[in-house]
Symmetry: C2
Subunit: 376 residues, 2 copies
């Protein structure tokens, strides 16, 4: 049998087993499904090297197995959309398959530039000296006019938010059209920065019809924006990779739709959050990744949060580390404890909590002060 | 309170209820999550029109409710990626939310051209006269050379397959690089058509890095391809819409990754298949949509299959109807019964089953004959 084509992705899957099915046979079925879509006896010898190969199978909790399958990475060379298909495309349509971890060969990582800014580059863009955690506020809600949103952006910037993002639901509504809004909000941040001597960074939502991406990126350049919010699972990982590679914008990734892949109530299905929001978003070039931290409006297990931070910040070939951005209903008073838990290479996204306070600027300043304190 | 901005999307959600939570309060929480991301009392009067509004709530099975929520469609004007975010972006991160149905206002449908070919246009491209069902074969497996794949394409075409698609896992592997493969396979189909007087249509897989889409579409034009396979959830719905609008290619959609949104074992979560693969893929301009029909390798409830066919072929504003393409391990001998069940506006995708036979051309011809028979 011809040798496997290098490089190989070693993917660890958790597999729910059907009645009387062995882990080995389930793993083989998956290995075929994700590559040849033919049973192995129908795969001609010359195509055998591209057939997924089961390297090991262990039993896991009752009725499940953990299998490591070698997949031919060249089937998706330099293409994150195709890589997602290789990992989980048809598998998604079968119950009880979950991608738990991936060993990334150096040759595969070398195909992806990764974050153009990363943690240190994004700190620099936001004018943050020293290794402290950052505060991100949100311009909201949908339905306000561009100037109303700009007022809020200005208050957040004056209060000391390092980044201020659009809500991911605010794209190009009639109340605050994209071209107008990004100009107003960028001016507002600039005004605040002039007044405070700060360098808050406005992060507009780069959504909108595909045909207009180039124009909208040009508009962001025109008005002086240096960063953008993107929703990789809505836009497509490849589109985001392309934007990261060509726009010179730092990218803050939103996890919209991600729950489809890793519902907390279905640990036997999907793609582990640290792989999807961690490895894959980082390969797509996201400099910071928003995720729902536990204790807010979204269930997200603490262990997964720790793993995600590790996957975003830890070694991954030549790729720059990316910021984890805990979010999803974090109350301001939790920030000190979360800072202890997550450390300084973190961006805290405090959205709605600041709007519950009577004075947006002051509420922001109070949280910002916590992050600027010298460590005791 | 200012009037809601027209048009409104009326979305019916199935909501799992927490302990002691009422359907009304859960629905209101969701309506806020998907629009303002603020509790209603924090939404300024001028933004209230864009706040999702709960129109009705009924109790469903125990512990669940069915709620109809009005969402401001203008928040996602002409942008399918943003529309997906509006429908289910953050909701995906909360357990027990499922999009069950959508009432599409005419103004929203008017923003999307839909399938450029549709059922009658695709029949015409494939030279099919009369209202009969079509047969689609698959060039596989991954790992064969371009000329080996072309041989298989030729056999399928000689056997009378109306369409022959690449496997969705075959994009640009070293064994059959895109530019070479599409030329070889297109030549093979042409040769077969010359010999048989038929007009089989080769449908190459249009994947690959985002930066190269324009070049690959140009390559398809060069070699004479008129159709392409796309995986909308991997590429992004907006990218596919853009390809449909600008490429002049008929699009066959693959459901890779779709199971993340509607696992058969989790009916309380996600987006109903007939909405995702039906309404949304059709809005993206897909002329035919592959789905896993029950009885093959993937579980897919019969009722959902019927609903999906209805959503692809039934009235949807001005949009042309699209073909349902049952697939996923359909055995040749099931075709007569499936034809009875699904009717002539169907494309049967018979992939691996034909490769289990000793003679690919003859096996194809046997199935093709069933579809070409005059109705008895």
């Amino acid at each position: 049998m011809p040798a496997h084509p290098a490089p190989l992705l070693l993917v660890r899957y958790r597999l729910a087993l059907g009645d009387g099915e062995s882990g080995e046979s389930r793993a083989l079925r998956l290995a075929c499904e994700q590559t040849s879509e033919l049973s192995p006896d129908l795969v001609p010898a010359s195509a055998q090297p591209f057939l997924g190969r089961v390297l090991s199978v262990e039993s896991a909790e009752s009725g499940a197995a953990l299998a490591t399958i070698a997949l031919p990475a060249e089937a998706a060379r330099g293409d994150l959309a195709q890589l997602l298909v290789l990992l989980y495309g048809n598998a998604s349509l079968q119950p009880g398959v979950r991608v738990e971890s991936i060993e990334w060969p150096a040759e595969v990582l070398a195909q992806y530039p990764g974050p153009a800014f990363g943690i240190s580059g994004l700190r620099e863009l936001a004018g943050v000296r020293g290794r402290r955690a950052l505060l991100c506020g949100a311009a909201k809600p949908l339905g306000l006019s561009s100037s109303q949103l700009a007022d809020r952006v200005e208050a957040l910037a004056r209060g000391g938010a390092d980044l201020i993002k659009d809500d991911h639901g605010i794209s190009n509504p009639p109340s605050s059209p994209f071209a107008e809004r990004v100009a107003r909000c960028q001016e507002a941040v600039h005004r605040a920065n002039q007044a405070t001597g700060g360098s808050s960074l406005y992060v507009p939502n780069l959504a909108g019809p595909a045909a207009g991406w180039a124009g909208r990126i040009e508009r962001l350049r025109e008005v002086g924006c240096r960063a953008a919010l993107v929703a990789p699972l809505a836009l497509g990982l490849e589109s985001v990779r392309e934007i990261a590679a060509s726009s010179s914008l730092a990218l803050l990734a939103h996890p919209a739709l991600a729950g489809s892949f890793f519902a907390a109530d279905r640990p036997s299905q999907g793609i582990a959050p640290e792989i999807l929001l961690g490895d894959l978003f980082r390969l797509a070039g996201c400099d910071a990744v928003i995720y729902p931290h536990q204790g807010g409006r979204f269930p997200f297990p603490a262990a997964r949060s720790a793993a995600l931070s590790e996957h975003l910040r830890g070694p991954l070939g030549h790729l720059r580390p990316a910021f984890p951005v805990p979010a999803g209903g974090i109350a301001s008073e939790r920030v000190p404890a979360l800072l202890q838990e997550l450390g300084p290479d973190t961006i805290f996204l405090i959205g709605s909590a600041l709007y519950g306070e009577p004075d947006l600027e002051r509420a922001t300043a109070q949280v910002a002060a916590v992050l600027r304190e010298k460590p005791r």
